[in-house]
Symmetry: C2
Subunit: 212 residues, 2 copies
């Protein structure tokens, strides 16, 4: 079963090498900036092999998005509370500017390009990004909902939705700051963001406690 280096290695090995290559390139250059020739070069395989393993550029990025979402789900499933979630999300923004340390985290900054490029409206990778964005939102909102005690389900659901919207805006905003190269201490502002959201939560809970 001995195989020569780079030729006829297991299919899965090559596929994985290509996924790693496209991640490293996408982090540097985004979707449009990543060329299939780049990916081939970074993977050590010829461009023909890339097209043998993946139908086209769109499908290659769809596969990459799915892979990154898996990583995200694993690392965020164990987050204890809102503050911890914000800490991790905003720290990921910092990782995105430093770049290579945690490519799977840095990827989500690249994903934002999909949000802006309306030219990619029919692009399957863009649609997958938006679908995953929605799934992440529901994931966060349902966790928050479960953490509000002493109010009706309706109130908890609306509050969780509001806080999830605000939290998403903040983390996306700090990703923009990282991409723009703003000189920002993300660790510090993660705490400030958590302070701000916590004060919204307690104000809302207080408000409904008075009515009861």
């Amino acid at each position: 079963m001995a195989t020569r280096r780079k030729t006829h290695q297991g299919s899965e090995v090559s596929k994985q090498a290509i996924l790693e290559a496209v991640l490293s390139r996408a982090v540097e250059a985004g979707y449009e900036g990543t060329t299939m020739a780049d990916v081939a070069r970074a993977s050590g395989l010829p461009i023909g092999s890339v097209y043998w393993h993946f139908q086209n550029k769109e499908q290659l990025f769809v596969a990459l998005l799915d892979h990154c979402f898996e990583v995200w789900r694993r690392t965020h499933a164990s987050a204890a509370d809102m503050r911890e979630l914000l800490r991790r999300s905003i720290a990921d923004s910092a990782a995105a500017s430093g770049s290579l340390a945690d490519p799977a985290a840095a990827f989500w900054s690249i994903g934002l390009v999909f949000a802006f490029e309306r030219r990619l409206e029919d692009n399957l990778a863009r649609q997958r990004y938006l679908a995953i964005r929605e799934e992440m939102f529901e994931f966060i909102a349902s966790r928050l909902r479960a953490s509000y005690a002493g109010v009706t389900e309706d109130v908890a659901a609306e509050l969780a939705h509001d806080i999830a919207v605000m939290g998403r805006a903040l983390t996306d905003g700090f990703r923009v700051a990282a991409a723009a190269g703003d000189d920002t201490d993300f660790t510090r502002y993660a705490e400030l963001a958590a302070d701000a959201l916590e004060s919204l939560v307690s104000a809302r809970l207080r408000e409904h406690a008075q009515r009861a």
Copy 2:
């Protein structure tokens, strides 16, 4: 002085038509998605004229950025306080998704693409965007600083900086939400964002009042 339509009209008239054309295209398709042929078609002039008035695509976008910044400065110079600033900025995000109503506002969502496309590192338009982003930040921070009474200058400066960072993250984040097509009531969340930042301000001011 009668001139035939579209031929040899005043230089300024054509230049302005081209700027309007590139704005309308950039709002739809971003930087890379806007082609010089698109701009020419939208302006009603041939592509040769576009290159006669502007050196190249980069310089065309530099001129567009400067023009939009002028509009922004005019419309935000009169903003009364932080809540009003957030209202306008986040309402602009909504305008960006609806698109054509206020192109000068919608433009800033397009500008965010420059933040993400690192491939454009040496691009003069990207550098201009980042410079203007910095100027806007200082503009906001200095206005906030002047609004905090009863604390030392150092404290006011640090607080203004923090709130400006948080406000920028929030508005950028809502621009992302608009671009991603998230179903969001921007008017409502502008108020919530203002509530959150105001609670940060009063907490900080209270903290320093106790020490004095």
